[in-house]
Structures are given as C-alpha cells and as structure tokens.
Subunit: 337 residues, 2 copies
C-alpha cells in the first residue's frame, strides 16, 4: 500500500505539502494541487486512517447502541442515521446490546481510546452509571433517540409518548370502547411509563374506569403480545377489554394471534392498536391500526444533533417529532354488550 511519502516523491514535494493539498487545498498553489492529485492517482494512494486517527485523535466513527438489531423498528432509524453519517464522512458502528449491559460498557469504552467519537443511544436499557460516570469528567458526545432517561437532560430526539398514547385511547373511546386495556413494553423503560401515563390520563379524561388488570407488561416482542393477550382475553366476559392498545406492532400481532386462538374476531369483538407502523403492519390480517413514528427522520435528527455536539455547536435539549395515528382494519366500533 503506497503511503504519503510515495505520493510526495511522485509529486516532487514534501509529505507536508501532500497532506495540505488534501486537507487544506487553499493553502497550496493550484499547480501543486494538480501535481499532487495526479501523483495520488498514479500511485493509487489512499490515506491510512489508523495513522490519521492517531494523530488527530478522532476516529470519525459513531457508535449506535440498540437493544436488538432483530427488531425491524430500528432498521429505518438506522438507515436515516447512516445516510447523514456517510454524507458527513462518518462511519457507523452498530452495537447490539442484546439486553446485555456488558456489551454496552465495551462500546462506551471505545470513546476514551478514540475508537469512536460519539454515541447515539437507541436504548435506555444500559446502566445509567455508564452515562453519568463518564459525563462527570467531560461531557461525552451522546445523543439519545426514541428512548430517554428522565433523570438526565441529554440531547434527545423523541416523540411525545404520553400524547401519542392519549390519541390512541381517544380514538378507541370515540369508537365507543369503554373497556380499553394496554399491553406495555418493559415498565422500567421511560417511554413505556410515559405511554401508560398518557393512557391513564386519557382514560380519566374520558371518564373511563381502568381495571388494574388491564395494564399488562410485555417486552415488545411477538411472543409477549401473544402471552399477555391470552391473559387479557381470558378475563370474564364482563371485564374483558373490547380494545387493546399495544406498545409495539409485534405485540399487537401476537395479540391478534391470541384472539384468533380464542375465536375472538378482530376487529368486530376486539379492536387492536399497535405502535411503530413497521412494514409488516400493512400485511397482517387484519391490517393493523397503529401509531406511526417518523423513524427515518428520527435517525437523521439524532445524527445531525450528535455531529453538532461534536462540532461544539449549541444544540437543543429536546427535539420532539410528531406521530400519526394510522387507521387500518384492526379497529372498529365497540361491540354492543
């Protein structure tokens, strides 16, 4: 592999000039710039980034931590993130934590050694100490997207979860539903807490009673939706919910399977709302009513925010993007009971 020395030799100048021609073209004559350019082409040079990173103490790598790559919800966010990153000359290192905090620590450790310049957190399922410890010495370049720690005022891109949940419940209430249940995500997760709050406040606003048994906890996956769906649907007829708001589309689809197993017709006997609007939600049976998040835009915003942090720009603490209720076939008028 040719080095900058080879280029300097071929161009008849010093390595410093070659370096300048690349990094600060305005500091070099038109003529030398051209000579360097053709020398580079001739010897087939491309800079050794290990050396550059060592010297500049940066890596142009952004770590993106997520709880589970397999979750299709994240893929479009990632696409948005990567698009901005590549455009700005950054690389994205995806870190799948698989709910394993050891992994997360390993990724955080890339920062002080200049193997990564910043972190975007798509999960709050990491030890809080990782964030605070490091932030103590010097503010680490960290941006959260979708999820957040409510104890910490980190730059965050997110949706208004209480509002989105309230809208979903409001819609169900407008269809005449009174017994509205919810299958939540993990309840240590602030976004789930917020959605439950939105659910509860809207139920109150609609003067609807909330049976404590109607709030059940899942983990966003198909299976937990199925299992918790079985629990909800096994309730005695007079308590059984006629509508269920799920914190993810996968759980909603799991729930619909549980309904099929119990011979409960969706939407006639049970309305279902999901969350996220993943690709699948248009292809399941019945098509799923769901809360759509602007995933691509979330990714783009988060990466722009982080790059601004790296460039020491002032950044807004919170960026709240809007959601949309997408009505499809899994919701309808409440059954007459």
């Amino acid at each position: 592999m040719p080095t900058i020395k080879d280029v300097a030799l071929a161009a008849g100048c010093s390595t410093a000039t070659v370096s300048r021609a690349l990094a600060n073209p305005e500091k070099v004559t038109e003529a030398t710039r051209k000579r360097v350019a053709s020398a580079i082409a001739k010897v087939g040079y491309s800079p050794n980034l290990a050396a550059r990173n060592l010297r500049r103490s940066e890596s142009r790598t952004i770590v993106v931590l997520l709880p589970d790559i397999a979750n299709p919800f994240f893929s479009e966010i990632i696409a948005g993130l990567e698009d901005i990153a590549h455009r700005e000359g950054y690389r994205v290192l995806l870190g799948d934590c698989e709910h394993d905090t050891g992994r997360a620590k390993a990724y955080f450790d890339l920062l002080p050694t200049n193997q990564a310049d910043g972190i975007i957190l798509l999960t709050a399922e990491i030890p809080l100490t990782l964030v605070t410890q490091q932030a103590r010495g010097s503010q680490i370049p960290l941006v959260m997207a979708c999820e957040y720690f409510d104890q910490l005022a980190l730059p965050t891109v997110r949706i208004d979860n209480p509002l989105a949940a309230a809208r979903a419940v409001e819609y169900l209430a407008s269809l005449g539903h009174q017994r509205i249940a919810s299958i939540t995500g993990p309840m240590q997760n602030p976004i789930c807490i917020d959605r439950v709050k939105g659910y509860q406040s809207e139920m109150a606003r609609q003067s609807l009673a909330v049976n404590p048994g109607w709030i059940v906890e899942g983990d966003f996956g198909f299976l937990s939706g199925y299992q918790q769906g079985q629990v909800l649907l096994a309730m005695p007829q007079e308590h059984r919910p006629t509508a269920i708001f799920c914190h993810s589309d996968e759980m909603a689809i799991g729930l619909m399977k549980a309904a099929r197993d119990a011979s409960i017709q969706v939407p006639e006997a049970l309305s279902v709302i999901g969350f996220d609007n993943i690709g699948l939600s248009e292809y399941c049976q019945p098509e799923l009513t769901t809360v759509s998040q602007p995933r691509d835009e979330i990714g783009r915003c988060a990466m722009r925010l982080l790059l601004d942090v790296l460039r020491k720009k002032q950044v807004p603490h919170q960026q709240v993007l809007s959601t949309q209720l997408i009505v499809r076939a899994s919701t309808t008028q409440a059954p007459k009971s």
Copy 2:
C-alpha cells in the same frame, strides 16, 4: 487519557516491558507482571487502538456486507457472527449496501488501509470486480454466507438451495398439487437461480408441467410478493396455481394478502410455502409453512471461517448446512378441481 508511558512510569519500568506484560506475559517475571497490572489499574490505562493498529497493521474489525439491514432474515445471522467475533476479540462493522454498489466499494476500500481485516459477504449484489480485482494481487480475506458467486470458488457457508426448493415442491406434490408456481427473488441472484433449478427439476421428477407464467420474479419484500401474487392469482381458473413456493417469507405473506384481497382461501384454495422461517411466520394468519435455515449457525460458521482465513489456516471451500421444512397451516391438500 493515560498512555503506556504513564504506566511505565508508575510501574518503574520501560514501555517495552509494559507492552510485553500485556501481549506476552510469559516473557516477563511474575513480579513485574504484577507491578504492571497494578500500575495499569492505578493510572486507568487502556491501550490506544489507533496506535496499535497502525503498528500492527491490523484493525481487528470485520466488515459484514448485507443488502438490507431492515430484512429480519439477517438479524439472527448477524447475532451469530457477532457472538463469535466478540469472543475472539474482533469488532463487527455492519455495512448496509442498500442495493447501492457505491457503498460496497467504500467498504471494500477499508481493507487495504487496514481499517478492516476481512469481509463477510451476505449478498452477491455487488460488482464482481470488487472481489476479483482485489483478489488478483493477494487473496483478500473474504467469506460468503448464504449467497455465492458461482463463477468464483470463495470460502462459502450456505445451504443446498436446489435441494431445499425441491423438498418444498415435493411436499406440495405429495399433497396432490399439480399447478405449482413460484415467486422468486431477483433472478441475477445465484441462490434464486438454484432454487428455480431445484423447483424445475422436482417438477420434472414429479412429471408435472411448468407453465412459464408460473415463475415470477420478486425482490424478497412484502410488496413484491403482493404484486406478483396478484399476477398469479389473476390467471384464468384452469391455469391458476393451487400452490405457490416463495423464495422468502415476506413475499409469502404479501402473497397471502393478495389472496385475501381476491377472496381466495389459504390454504383451502391455495397452499403457500415461504423461505427463511422469520419470527413473523409463526404469527401471520394462517401460520406459514416455510423452509428454515439455521441462521445463527450460518453466522457462526462464516465468522469462524473468516477468522481461520485470517490465521492462514486451511479452510474448506464450501460448508453446506442443512435446511428443514417447517409445516404449519398455510399448506394443505390440493383442492378438487
């Protein structure tokens, strides 16, 4: 950030000794090893990998190229890959090519500059020249998984696609189906060509005629399954297939939606087989009969293979893993016509 010099100072030895204590502990006395260890703990040292990589000209990073992160089929493969990689001290850089060859080239360019040590290709949708060009000078550390170039004898982990397709067709034939169609993946893709071959040879073995209109090309996604499904189901009754073998689960689910739209009952009037056994296939309606690939194992094998290549071990050219037909509710006896 403390450097190796700080450690040397704290331990009262030279940097060389510190380096050896870390890399070749057996070359150092028990006593110094301990002194170094406690010095490291004291100053909070962790090696600067940019410097190490520069010196060793390696990066301990493996690039994994895939056509589309959003495709859940890949996520479990990735999980397998990453598990092995992390265990062996390697990092995984996921490269989403999004069917865009420019991106692929950018990732290949990481190799000569020692930003990556090797590549695992989960896609054949890249310019072949990328592989051959580089391979000319010196064999680049490259392993393929799932997909392959049939022109090239690269180390590959894969399944027996013709056989898997033939088994699916055989099963449909055993149910009495005679008009069996197929929605394929992109036909420039060798795995799809092989599956079509398997389909055709099994059809021949079963003495079943193949209407050329029964082989339609999709792109593995929901939508293409839906659209091509509409085409197949719009055929006149006497030519319309009673069973369709799809090259992906997403297409199979798209197809089932097309069938619902056309009021064609699955499986009573139409049997559907998918491919991959993604999580969703158990939760769609009806549950999908599909060909399962050992995805986790494919990932593990591929990474082990690549690490063996990097360690200059002899590696087998082909590693063929077995598939399994998972019978669920989307297939049944052919309708009497």
